[in-house]
Amino acid sequence: MRTLAGVEDEEKWLAEGIAGIQHNAFFMHRALDANNLREVLKYSALMLSELRTSKLSPQKYYDLYMRAFDQLRQLEIFFKDESRHGLPVVDLYELVQHAGNILPRMYLLCTVGSVYIKSKQAPSKDVLKDLVEMCRGVQHPIRGLFLRSYLAQVSRDKLPEIGSDYEGDANTVIDAVEFVLQNFTEMNKLWVRIQHQGPGTVREKQEKERNELRDLVGKNLHVLGQIEGVDLEMYKETVLPRVLEQVVNCKDKLAQYYLMECIIQVFPDEYHLQTLEALLAACTQLMPTVDTKIVLTQLMDRLSNYAASSPDVLHEFLQVEAFAKLSNAIGKVIDTQLEMPIVGAMTLFVSLLTFTLRVHPDRLDYVDQVLGACVVKLSSVPKLEDARAMKQVVALLSAPLEKYSDIVTALTLSNYPRVMDHLDDGTNKVMAMLIIQSIMKNDSCISTADKVEVLFELIKGLIKDLDGTNVEELDEEDFQEEQNSVARLIHMLDNEEPEEMLKIIYVVRKHLMTGGPQRLPFTVPPLVFSAVRLVRQLEAQGGDIAGEDVPATLRKIFQILNQTIEALSSVPCPELALRLYLQCAEAASDCDLEPVAYEFFTQAFILYEEEIADSKAQVTAIHLIVGTLQRINVFGVENRDTLTHKATGYSARLLKKPDQCRAVYACSHLFWVDDPEGIKDGERVLLCLRRALRIANAAQQMVNATRGSSGPVTLFVEILNKYLYFFEKGNPHITPSDIQSLIELINTEMLSDNGNTTIHSDPFFSSTLRYIRFQKQKGGLMGEKYDLIKL
């Protein structure tokens, strides 16, 4: 009836109802003032008759109910005072039952009943039992619910719980529990029944209305949770089985969900723990449409928090085998609820895992078991496409990472990579990044090849293109970020044991080589450096390790390095490859492996010749080559000559004159290594420097020709500095007169350049001159030397 009516009509009916209540309440109050019991009963019954309406929605009915409720409080005060109405309460209890209509009768009975209990003229349990039984007469769901909620409310402070006035003798806490349980059961039945009212077309609205009423039912559970004296034993034996029985039997999804939630929230954690079996059994018996996962999740969350709250309780968890039970239950739920979306199952697994990690941090096998179950579930569905499910899986995989700061732990979980396999590529990458970040954050070192293997298996989404990945979709910045992470990760792979380290390098290389041209520039350098570090380590240990094997091992490493860098040069990324070759060459040199070093140099030169065309890159490359070559002392005369010759040759052939000049004077260092055993070929140094001067001159003239002014004298000053350097180092071919003439040359150049400016305007030059003067004044050996230079 009410469902067909509009909201306006409902407002009207509510207004009418309120008016009716007020009207009768007015006469009731008059009778109250006159202490006229008969009239009081008459008008209160009339007033309560307004609650018999079927026209209002629960919300509006609640409004009406509250107004009547306020009036009933007044009535209760009147009933309490025997001097006002002159009847013993027991007679009053009978008298109100004469009312012809059940609803007013029951409201009055409950009101008098509460006075009756208070008077203690009858055992409270008897009165309560009678009330809860008599309320059965109201079978209309909404009216019944409100009536019973009224009963619950007026009886709340009169339950014979432990410590209350009404406890004792025949009235025990069991009676209180019994009463609340019964009222709860009946209320739940009524609540569930609402859905059978009215036509099916308004189902949705009904569900909403029912939801609004749920707290009336839940209130009973709150009361149960608050009753003093409900100990674990009673909870286990009476309260929970009864409540669960009702929950399971009502076969209503809304009720089951809400009530399970209530149970979990209302009762203490330790009770849950001790009754886990029953609770979980109930969970598996819920309707398939109930969102069991949220229920279970909440339960596990509570238990995990409980476990986290104090270490003392952990043994309880072990005692009741909480994990096994939960795990079983979840398995069952997932098996039976076929319609449950995959995201639901995943959420459950996440909760279980969180629980496991909190409660049994030491039981890796449990964690693995959870992941295993997850794999089984994931395998049963096609490809995971639900974004939310994916998120849950990521959460699932992240949990162990967070818990075990040592990533190594996660690597021992055999099911971990299998779970990852089910992620899509994007998520897989995110997960891989998380793993790497975790390693970085905890600064944990992966020290065995096996673990490295596993780790790379895990992050393979970053290491190589997976099938079907659309490369163009990749965001450049993200990609760089990812690859940088991988690069950083490689540095975390370390083992003191060279042999194991070598294995690690093999493994890493194997994986990295699959990365393709985009990744190699990021990943090869760290690998190379890692290998070089191993080389240096071996070299430092010298013969300590395994005697003859060492050179062989070293050679092997260099072979790998060579191949690795070669891969890079084919990418192509010649500049990088060149640098790495040079690094390796230097390392090889330190190991006294001349042919190896030579080979690396050769490679570097080949690269220079064939691949590096850009003039700027060439300049940089030349300087690198020269710098490296200068430091390497392993080469025999012949090899060295070849290489230096090559280097100087390339230097002179650079495109720009200033570059040429600078490269050439840099080459001078190749012939003068400033250490006792270093080569000291003064003549060739001079040759180089002179050549540089010539080029500088040519450069100056060229500038003159094109611009009309000769430009700065920087090149000359630079060369002057080189002269001074070698002069100081004692190169016999550098004479003071050479320096002197060079200074003069610079001065002339400067004059001719800007006739109107003062001399020494070039700061570099002036500070060079200042240096010479300083050395002169300082005296000593160097001072004497410098005295020969006349300024």
Partner: protein
């Protein structure tokens, strides 16, 4: 007839008083004119004694052919109004014919009178007890005075008082089983019971328990049956589900009931029924009627 002469002012005032009138319990009784008056209450085997006082009006004398007092038990059928059937009639002669000049008092006594039936005021029938004083006069008509009595008889607790249990239903639609704790109730009793719903396929609005009184008068072809609903007591609001049981608790005290009367002097019977009525949402009524026996239990001194 007599009452035609009653229009004249009578020569004397006749009054009847009971010897235990001050202590005797009085109960309200509805008179024919609709007003209620308090009337002394008697039980069977009571001794009815008292005084008849004849007080002639100032300066008048009453000549009479004798004074008598009668105790009458009468049944009056309303379709035959004014025609009383006396089932009890006891007479005491108080005076021989003579003249009364001044107030004169006659004591009388009917010891341990058998009054088998209760006073009853029904729809079609009335059973009453009265004391009738007659001052017989010759030509000027007799002077009559009535004093009504109410008679109530207590019944002992019944030996057998089994519960009423019945299963009723409509095929495939509604199936209920009800149970009342007794079949015989005293007038201040309380009916306890339960109604079990075994099958519910209709939507119900409510369920009431009614107390109905069936009064049948006359006999054979002239039998008149009159049924009244004396109580309508709502037991249930809304539709129960299968397996639900609804409690019944009905206090009889507030209702105006009499004991069950069976074949009183072959004139009438009064029977009581409990009628369980279910009303569905289309206002169709489903009901089942069960007879109960009501009896009057001797009340405690305190009651």
């Amino acid at each position: 007839m007599n009452y035609l002469l009653g229009a004249f002012k009578p020569a004397c005032n006749v009054s009847i008083t009971f010897s235990d009138g001050k202590n005797r319990k009085q109960v309200p009784m509805k008179k024919e004119n609709g007003q209620t008056a308090l009337v002394p209450l008697f039980h069977s085997q009571d001794t009815i004694s008292g005084k008849v006082c004849i007080d002639p009006y100032q300066g008048k004398k009453v000549e009479h052919n004798g004074v008598k007092v009668e105790l009458l038990g009468q049944i009056e059928m309303y379709f035959d109004r004014g025609n009383f059937y006396d089932f009890t009639s006891l007479v005491r002669e108080l005076d021989v014919p003579g003249e009364i000049y001044e107030r004169k008092t006659y004591p009388f006594e009917f010891p341990t009178v058998e009054m088998p039936y209760e006073t009853y005021n029904g729809v079609n029938v009335r059973l009453r007890y009265a004391l009738k004083v007659t001052v017989t006069r010759g030509y000027s008509g007799s002077i009559l005075e009535y004093q009504e009595l109410v008679v109530r008889n207590y019944a002992p607790l019944p030996d057998i008082n089994s519960s009423i249990k019945l299963e009723v239903g409509i095929e495939g639609c509604l199936h209920i089983e009800f149970e009342y704790n007794k079949s015989k109730y005293h007038l201040k009793d309380v009916i306890l019971g339960k109604i079990y719903f075994l099958l519910v396929r209709i939507k119900m609005k409510n369920m009431d328990l009614e107390i109905r009184r069936r009064e049948s008068t006359g006999a054979g072809a002239n039998t008149h049956v009159e049924t009244e609903t004396l109580a309508k007591f709502e037991l249930m609001d809304g539709t129960p589900v299968r397996g639900e049981s609804i409690p019944v608790r009905l206090f009889l005290a507030p209702y105006d009931l009499t004991p069950t009367h069976r074949n009183i002097n072959n004139k009438y019977s009064v029977k009581y029924f409990l009628n369980l009525v279910l009303v569905d949402e289309e206002d169709r009524r489903y009901f089942k009627q069960q007879e109960i026996t009501l009896y009057r239990l001797k009340e405690d001194a305190s009651a």
